[in-house]
Amino acid sequence: MSARPSILRSAALFCAAHARRVLLRRNPFWADGMQQEALHIDDDWSALQWALGCVCASYAEVLKAERFFIPVLARLCLAAITLFYAQQPLSGLIGALECHLYDLPHGVPDPVALEFVFRHFFFTSPPNTGSICFWLDATHFPWLVHVMQAGIGSLYLAAGLRVVQRRASAFPLFFGAIVATLVFIFLTQVVLFAIKYNLFWYDALSWYRENSDFRNHMISVAWDTCWKLIVCLCIGLVVSLDDKRKIAR
């Protein structure tokens, strides 16, 4: 029976394997060499130091191989957008937990979030619409909404992480999720609301009529969605072109 490796040794093996994975596509000979050398170092601490250095060296080599700075920048932007979109649904969950734990009044609406869309168009009964339908109490299944939000947030994080790690296979999933969400928000918040606001609910609901700021807000949401969509498309184009270039090479 072989002895279990120490934590330091395990960390060293993990780092060495990571260094190999990073450099493997660019230079497999050196990637394997780095990993194998770490296995020949007897002292655990020295092995860890060696493996950490290998990680730095492999990243340096990969970055050096990048002919264009733009793909790297595009991936960083993509990472930022991922975090932005992931934190939005996740923050809803955190807010709900806080409300339940501390019994805070649910008086802070966040109309841009998906939560708002779900509450207004799927979970709020018609009698409640137009009164205090922003509040968490108004939804029939608040936890279901938050579970869905957490799911969407996790999906973004997972897919975004894979894309930033240069695994192009996850890119269509990630990009599709972002575009679908933006289109969904645009359709539900702007188009649907505009139809209802102008054709159906205009005279029926005093709440919407009295809140002229709300209409302005919807216009800003429309602009917001449009520019996000354009930015995402541009970034997506750069990243996919870069991936195609790499595959061709």
Binding site: N27, F29, W30, G33, M34, Q36, E37, L39, H40, I41, Q49, W50, A51, L52, G53, C54, V55, C56, A57, S58, A60, E61, K64
Partner: protein, 104 residues
């Protein structure tokens, strides 16, 4: 002023170490210990010198059983010539001129 290629302190240290036994195959960790260069510095150097044809690398079977093969490195003929030339050029002044002037 254009930089002389492969003239950094780390590269010169590596060349000096490898010139001690030019024909002998050396391991990466051994070179790291002798030159005090960390692996994060050493590997980019080795890769660059190998790409330039100054260093050759090969897989070597391990001495101890149960260990995987590992890389071994040595200077090529061009590498030895280059390292010797660099060593001759690299005569460091004892003191920088301004400092020397101030002291005198």
């Amino acid at each position: 002023m254009a930089r002389t290629p492969n003239a950094s302190r780390q590269t010169r240290t590596l060349f000096a170490e490898m010139l001690k036994m030019p024909g002998k195959w050396r391991y990466g960790y051994e070179l790291s210990r002798e030159t005090k260069l960390l692996s994060g510095t050493l590997y980019p150097l080795l890769i660059r010198l190998s790409d330039q044809g100054l260093l050759e690398a090969k897989w070597e079977e391990p001495e101890k059983p149960g260990k995987p093969p590992r890389h071994a490195y040595r200077l090529t003929a061009d590498g030895v010539v280059f390292a010797r030339t660099l060593q001759k050029k690299a005569v460091r002044p004892a003191l920088r001129p301004r400092l020397a002037g101030a002291l005198s």
